[in-house]
Point group: C2
Chain length 168, copies 2
DNA sequence: TTGTATGCAAATAATTTGCACCAAA
DNA sequence: TTTGGTGCAAATTATTTGCATACAA
């Protein structure tokens, strides 16, 4: 029952994402459907960041039982965001989703080489953000910070490659 | 000659954007053309953030002298980014451009109500960023921070509206 | 039953690309 | 001349939407 056991630690929540979504649907008079159940399960089965396409690739193909049409996938992802289950942001043009429910606020380091996203959490940044916003008279709702660069692995790989070149 | 006189102050540069772009083109064996000259001028005539569409709306229509096709506009905007003249980032799905050349590094507050972008500069953030990156073994290239919220003007407008409602 | 939800296909929107022709250097 | 640049239209990509039908409550 622990779909909220991640590297950054988890926020204590009393409901599973499934239960939380069910509640959301009921509160709005929306319906529990096979597609929605399947998608919540799929989305919360792994913690990695993903986009609509990656999600659909992990779903049964057209014609197979459990198939969900692209239209429904897109519509449902929006509901997940509305329901507070997922967060989304743009990266290299595509829309990337990540778990929000049961997961602490955080930001990202993005390796422009291997496209890996690394999460980090910092209260200092939140304080900074609130201070800047206050100075400018803004009422903050949230923020998005992405630090671009090259991760340690890729740096190492590059150094190795360069050393080889130097030998030639 | 001062297309770099903005609210955040300007970085001292020895060349105008026009000259800088010319140099960039020459260094790569690319050509000086009427369209490119026209677009550099247009883009650096105002400091506001813009997207491809907004830029094209400020250009002569098809059939008029000085018309530049969408294909060329998109191709040229990319070159401006490569040349270091412009920066770009995603906002609400669209690609937004802003001056980079001759303008200091900064970040943004975004009013989700009126869609206004407010710039702010902070060395503290850059230090923070470098510290976090170092901890994670990243070699930083740059970062992007957007603080979302409601600006003072919109907050005031909302309060006024609410007061009116309360009176009814 | 009654109104939502879904699949399908067409419609969008924002770019990108292929290609024949134009024009800097 | 030679090779890069441009306009045009078609192709892409990622979604979104209209609509007839299926299904949850």
């Amino acid at each position: 029952m622990s779909s909220v056991q991640q590297s950054l630690g988890n926020v204590s929540v009393s409901m599973t994402p499934q239960e939380r979504f069910e509640e959301y649907l009921q509160s709005r008079g929306l319906r529990q459907t096979g597609q929605r159940r399947l998608l919540v399960d799929q989305v919360f089965s792994r913690h990695e960041h993903f986009d609509a396409d990656m999600l659909m690739e992990n779903l049964p193909r057209k014609g197979q039982p459990g198939y969900v049409s692209p239209a429904t996938v897109y519509r449902t992802l929006k509901e997940f965001v509305d329901a507070g289950l997922l967060n989304s942001f743009q990266l290299d043009g595509r829309t990337v989703f990540e778990h929000d429910y049961g997961y602490p606020q955080h930001d990202h380091l993005y390796c422009t080489q291997c496209r890996k996203l690394v999460e980090f959490q910092s209260d200092e940044l939140v304080e900074f953000r609130d201070r800047v916003a206050a100075e400018q008279g803004f009422r903050v709702s949230d923020h998005r910070l992405i630090i671009n660069g090259v991760c340690a692995d890729c740096s190492r790989a590059r150094r190795r490659k360069k050393r080889k070149q130097d030998l030639v």
